[in-house]
Amino acid sequence: MMTYIVFILSVIFVVSFVGFSSKPSPIYGGLVLIVSGGVGCGIIMNFGGSFLGLMVFLIYLGGMLVVFGYTTAMATEQYPEVWVSNTTVMGVFLLGLLMEVMLVLYVLKSEEVGVVFEFSGVGDWAIYDTGDSGVFSEEIMGVAALYSYGAWVVIVTGWSLLVGVLVILEVTRGD
């Protein structure tokens, strides 16, 4: 199973995306987002990105999704919609599930898949050799590089976040 772990995790990833794209109420969307975040973390970790995976858990799930969950809990209705409560939602979910099953069967049958672009297994993304010096991890060096060569990116993203807050306050002000 370990050789196919990325494939299995990717299938679960897509299924959970279908789960929240079929638009149940936001609370259930958040629930499925937790699953997809965890599974996505697993996929990244299988390619050696342990730092990035932990970032997903800490910041995305533990920060952003928690805030999202709290605000949704404040604004939710008494009987939120589940996947089986509304015909449309269930129909879309089943359709997405069906398409994913057909794609998985296609992948399992033939060597190469050419839906939008050619895809034949993990390819040259598979890691045989860690590639780093063994003293420090290359990932963390990437974070360090962000603050040295990539200072412009930090400035731009920091400014975007500040303007994001200003815009949200301005839009929700009302009058």
Binding site: V163, L166, V167, E170, V171, G174
Partner: protein, 346 residues
């Protein structure tokens, strides 16, 4: 809005477009587009009524979808070329997706449906920023990837845009919708020549921005958003009536005025590349545009439009100060003799 916040947000819109135009890394370009989109939402929502909120939501949804498509095209490009610099796009799939994404941002057919609705729902000044400044960033990216754009898709979108821009504007009396359809048609002209001579795209963009700026300033000056209310300008400031006439005919592309220059150059460039049916069709469809501009001039400057008697005299509010209107009017009508100077652009 608080003046400090308004200045910050306006500067962020400018910064977003500047980042898009100056970056050499695809990710920074995407960040620039998102920054631009985020910061223009409160500008579109200056007044807090349901129409502006609906218009801002529609704008946000379409532009966010376009940004997502752009990101997908960037990643496919990364997969096939292994690098992030902006040169031509190395994969046909990525090129098609990127062209569609930028067409959605510009408002080309078949992604033009948001332009009239969003332009109608917002105030005149916001509509001005939407139709002029927001076109700069996607056009600069199209310019940079122009060698690798699929010609069939580009020309189809361009010709359909000219058709839709002309045909769709025929039944309109609301000035903002007229300007929106005019923008769709002009974007069609710009993208038609993109694959042949991108310099002319930039020329057309420049002259289009000047003319649209002039038109919007004239509308803001007379505070009019419908044909009926525009037709009362003869009473308030007779001079602007004449200027509306001249600028509208320039937008229609009539010869002694500067709006003729881009159309002339584009038709010449297309015929130099041995396509004759295409510029003929484009020129014929530009007549539809000219028709509704002329109808606007007819009702505004050339006749006294019928209205009820108590509306004939416009209330004399304090005159708004309009920035730079005289130079804009001069530039949008008298630039045609400068056409030989285009030879320095190559």
């Amino acid at each position: 809005m608080n003046p400090l916040i308004f200045t910050t947000i306006l500067m962020t819109v400018l910064l977003g477009t500047m980042i898009v135009m100056m970056s050499s890394h695809w990710l920074m370009i995407w960040i620039g587009f998102e920054m631009n989109l985020l910061a223009i939402i409160p500008i579109l929502m200056k007044k807090y009524n349901p129409r502006t909120m609906e218009a801002s939501t529609k704008y946000f949804l379409t532009q966010a979808t376009a940004s997502m498509l752009l990101m997908m095209a960037i990643i496919i490009n990364l997969m096939h070329s292994g690098q992030w610099t902006i040169t031509k796009v190395f994969n046909p799939t990525a090129s098609i997706i990127m062209t569609s994404a930028l067409a959605m941002k510009l408002g080309l057919t078949p992604f033009h449906f948001w332009v009239p609705e969003v332009t109608q729902g917002i105030s005149l000044t916001s509509g001005l920023i939407l139709l002029t400044w927001q076109k700069l960033a996607p056009m600069s990216i199209l310019y940079q990837i122009s060698p690798s754009i699929n010609l069939n898709i580009l020309l189809t979108m361009a010709v359909l845009s000219i058709l839709v821009g002309g045909w769709g504007g025929l039944n309109q009396t609301q000035l903002r919708k007229i300007m929106a359809y005019s923008s769709i048609a002009h974007m069609g002209w710009m993208t038609a020549v993109l694959a042949y001579n991108p310099t002319l795209t930039m020329l057309n963009m420049l002259i289009y921005i000047m003319m649209t700026l002039t038109m919007f300033m004239l509308f803001i000056h007379s505070s009019s958003t419908t044909t009926l209310s525009l037709s009362h300008t003869w009473n308030k400031t007779p001079l602007t009536t004449t200027l509306i006439l001249i600028t509208l005919l320039s937008m229609g592309g009539l010869p002694p005025l500067s709006g003729f220059m881009p159309k002339w150059m584009i038709i010449q460039e297309l015929t130099k590349n041995s396509s004759i049916i295409l510029p003929t069709l484009m020129a014929i469809m530009a007549l539809l545009n000219l028709y509704f501009y002329m109808r606007l001039t007819y009702s505004t400057s050339l006749t006294m439009f019928p209205s009820t008697n108590n509306m004939k005299m416009k209330w004399q509010f304090e005159t708004k100060r309009i920035t730079l209107l005289p130079p804009l009017i001069v530039m949008s009508s008298l630039l045609l003799p400068l056409t030989p100077m285009l030879s320095i652009l190559d």
